[in-house]
Point group: C2
Chain length 119, copies 2
Amino acid sequence: MTASLPPAQAAERTGLTLDTLRYYEREGLIGPVDRTSGGKRRYSDDDVFWIGLISCLRDAGLGIADLRQFTSMLREGDAAGDRVGFLTRHRSELQRRAAQIETAISVLDEKIAYYSATD
Amino acid sequence: MTASLPPAQAAERTGLTLDTLRYYEREGLIGPVDRTSGGKRRYSDDDVFWIGLISCLRDAGLGIADLRQFTSMLREGDAAGDRVGFLTRHRSELQRRAAQIETAISVLDEKIAYYSATD
DNA sequence: GCTTGACCTGGAGCGCGCTCCAGGTGGCAG
DNA sequence: CTGCCACCTGGAGCGCGCTCCAGGTCAAGC
């Protein structure tokens, strides 16, 4: 039962809006989605899964251009450049950000401790 | 020797540009900076320290409006609203983000493992 | 006094990532 | 056939966070 969803349902499952789905497709983050004979999109399970990945990476702060590259590198199954290098670079970028957030959390913790005592 | 830095040095120490420093001041993330009789800014040690905090929270992804509120709440020494609540809310927001980044990192790790094996 | 360079202001411009809109088509229910 | 609603397209608009610019002032060095 490999489903094939109309746009509204794809939007619901992925948590993105119709506009965002179309935008991502235009920008090449999502491979061209199949169409019915009438020209309407039908999202395959694979599409939905891929959108999940993209959306997860997007939430982590990767930019559209990065994700386009991610998509094209992982989709062109072959002579793609240094995929592992590419992925590894982004991994460390994300770690850097996680560390920044940790620092910020400890700043907040300090303030919280201060005001918890005095308020 | 409490220093009082001209803009260029404040920029250098904080890692922000002159434009950004002025922008933050206009937006109220930084209290009004002292001026010389001639109208030029002089950043105090306190200013620089505060800018460090702001910049750290900014790097973690907090928005300008949040930081303005942060500034005004922590500066108005008194009848400020629920400071601890405010700080705690932002703390959990940051934790949510850190978690999203962790998720994304594990997605990347999976891909890295896959392509490390096949490339 | 003159030059020079750091600084000032207000406001325009920009890149990103959507988001919205107008005007039109597909296809099912009645 | 007629509504109607989901969907289509291309393009404009928007909020955010800067960034850049024009035109002017201050003050140190010559």
